[in-house]
C-alpha cells in the first residue's frame, strides 16, 4: 500500500465516521490505517493558527453527512414529513453508516433507502409498534418517491390515441399487443399512500393508515409526472401488457388470478382502455405475432 493510498483510506475513514473526527481517528488507528510513522493527528494534518487539524477535518466530516442527507431529503420529502425532520435526518445518518455510497453519482445514493427502511421497520416491530407502523408506511412512500424520480430518466415516447385501438377489428383485439410507455412504473404496496402524500403536499399531519394492498401507476408524459391508484385487475392487466403479453393473454392472466373480480373487469375494460389511452399510457399498438 503506497503512502497516497494509505492517506486517502485514513482520511475517508476519519471524515465519514458517524461519531466525528476524533472517533474516526481512533478507529483508523485500530484498523491500521494511519499513514506510515504517524502517531497523532498533527503528524498528518498540521492545522494552522486559526483552525486545528480536528477543525479542518470536521469541515469535510460535516459536509459528508449534510450533503448526502440533503440529497435524500430532496428525494424523499414525504418520508421526511411523515417521520419528522429530526427523525428523518437521524435515520439517514444510520442509513449512511449501513450503506456507505459506492455509486459515482449522488443521485444513486438513495436507491437502497426503501429496502433499508423495511429492515429497520421489522427490527422495531416488537419494541416500538407505533414507530414500526410509521416506518412501514415510510417504506411504501419511499418506493413511490424513488419511482417518481426514476421516471424522469426514462426515454420519452409519443403516446397513441384510443382511435388507434378502435381501428383494429374487435375480433382481433385478443391478439393485440399494447406497448406501455417507457416512463411508466407499476407498484404493489402494502399501504394506501395517496392521502399521506397529499397531506405532505399540503403540509398537514399524516395519519398512518391501516395496511391494505394498494396498486399504483406512475408515469411521465414529457415534463409532467402522474400518479394514480389502480384496482387489482387494472394493475394485473397493465403489468401483463408491459411484459409483452397480448391483450387476450393479459385478460386471461387476470381472470385466473385468485381473488379477481372477473365480471367487474369485463364490464370495465372498454372504459379503462379509453381512459388509459386518453392519458397516454401506451406507446404503440400492433397485432401479435
Amino acid at each position: 500500500m503506497g503512502e497516497l493510498d494509505r492517506l486517502e483510506r485514513w482520511m475517508l475513514r476519519v471524515v465519514t465516521h458517524p461519531e466525528g473526527v476524533d472517533a474516526g481517528f481512533d478507529a483508523a488507528r485500530t484498523e491500521g490505517l494511519l499513514p506510515e510513522g504517524a502517531e497523532v493527528l498533527t503528524d498528518i494534518v498540521p492545522g494552522n493558527d486559526r483552525l486545528s487539524p480536528e477543525e479542518q477535518l470536521h469541515i469535510y466530516a460535516f459536509a459528508y453527512f449534510e450533503r448526502i442527507i440533503d440529497v435524500l431529503a430532496d428525494e424523499y420529502p414525504t418520508v421526511q414529513h411523515l417521520l419528522s425532520l429530526e427523525h428523518f435526518r437521524r435515520l439517514c445518518r444510520e442509513f449512511l453508516v449501513d450503506h456507505p455510497s459506492e455509486a459515482y453519482s449522488l443521485n444513486r445514493v438513495g436507491v437502497p433507502f426503501a429496502g433499508w427502511l423495511a429492515a429497520r421497520s421489522a427490527r422495531a416491530a416488537k419494541a416500538q409498534p407505533t414507530w414500526s407502523a410509521k416506518l412501514a408506511l415510510a417504506v411504501d412512500v419511499a418506493i413511490v418517491e424513488r419511482t417518481m424520480d426514476e421516471v424522469w430518466d426514462e426515454p420519452f415516447a409519443e403516446s397513441i390515441p384510443f382511435e388507434r385501438l378502435q381501428a383494429i377489428p374487435m375480433e382481433a383485439w385478443a391478439d393485440v399487443k399494447l406497448e406501455t410507455m417507457p416512463a411508466l412504473a407499476l407498484l404493489e404496496l402494502a399501504h394506501p399512500i395517496t392521502e399521506a402524500m397529499n397531506a405532505a403536499r399540503d403540509d398537514e399531519a399524516i395519519v398512518v393508515p391501516k395496511p391494505a394492498t394498494t396498486w399504483i401507476c406512475i408515469y411521465r408524459d414529457d415534463d409532467r409526472r402522474w400518479r394514480f391508484e389502480l384496482t387489482f385487475e387494472q394493475h394485473g392487466l397493465l403489468a401483463a401488457l408491459s411484459r409483452g403479453e397480448t391483450l387476450g393473454e393479459a385478460i386471461e392472466a387476470v381472470a385466473t388470478s385468485e381473488g379477481a373480480d372477473v365480471a367487474a373487469m369485463m364490464s370495465g375494460l372498454g372504459g379503462w382502455f379509453k381512459e388509459w389511452m386518453g392519458t397516454g399510457l401506451f406507446a404503440s399498438v400492433r397485432l401479435g405475432d
Binding site: E3, S101, S105, N107, F156
Partner: protein, 277 residues
Amino acid sequence: MTNRFDLPDLGVGVGLRVPHFNYVLEEQPAVDWFEIISENFMDTEGRPMRILEQVREHYPVVMHGVSMSIGSTDPLDRDYLQRLKRLADRIDVAWMGDHVCWTGVNGSNGHDLYPVPYTEESLAHVVERIRIVQDILERPLVMENPSTYLQFVADSMSEIEWIGRMAEDADCALLLDVNNVYVTARNHGLDAMEYLQQVPWDRVVQNHLAGHTDHGTHCIDTHDDHVCDDVWELYAWVQKRAGGIATLIEWDGNLPDFPTLQAEADKCRPHRSFLDG
C-alpha cells in the same frame, strides 16, 4: 493570448440547473454558453436529456464533472468514462473536465472534493491517470484547482507548482477557479496574487467564479451567493493577464431566479471589455 489547445473564449456562461430549464427554453436568455454537471445528464434518456438537446441547439455547452476522482488510488471507472464520452460526443461539447481531487477510495464514495497531498507520488499517479482518461475521451481534460480546507504534512510543494507540473506532464488544460484560489489562499494563509502569478496561462481555457461563505477563521466554497469584491478584483487581473478566458458563474445553493444569475454573469463583462476593440 490563446491557449495551446485552440479552445475558444466562449464568453460568459452560467450553469444549467433544473429550476431554470423552462425559463432557458422559453426565453433563450442572452448568456454566451452553459456548463452542465456531467453526472446529472450522463445516466438519463429522459427529460433532462431532452432539455439539454434543446439547449444545445442554441448555445455551446461545456461538461464539468464531479466524480472522476482522478486523485484516487482506486482503479479508474472505465464504465463511467465511457458514459462521459458518449454524452460528450452526443452533445458535441466544447470541452469537458473535472477537479484536482479524489472523491472516494476502497470502493466507497464520500461525494466531496477531497484534497490531494502535493507530493511526487501523487503527481506521478494523477499524471498517469489523466493521460489514460484523455486517451479514452479523445480530447484534452480540463482540470480545476479545488478549494481546500486542510494541508498535509506530507506536502512537498505548493498547490500551484503541483498543478503546473501536472498540466505540463499530462498535457492537459486547466480551469482556473478564481474563487477557489481566493478560498484556498484564505484558508492556508497564502497570497492569492502570488498563486496566480505562477499559473501556466497557456493551458487555462476556463474560469469559474462563485460566492463563498466567510466564517472569519476560514472560507467555505458554498456557491450560494454573489461573487465577493476581492474575487472580482482577482478576476479582473486574470482576464487582463490571460487576454480573455471563457468564464462561468457557479451558483448552486440558494439558487436565485435566472435573471439574477444572468445579472451576476453580466458583471464579468466590464472586466472583459478590452476584448471588445
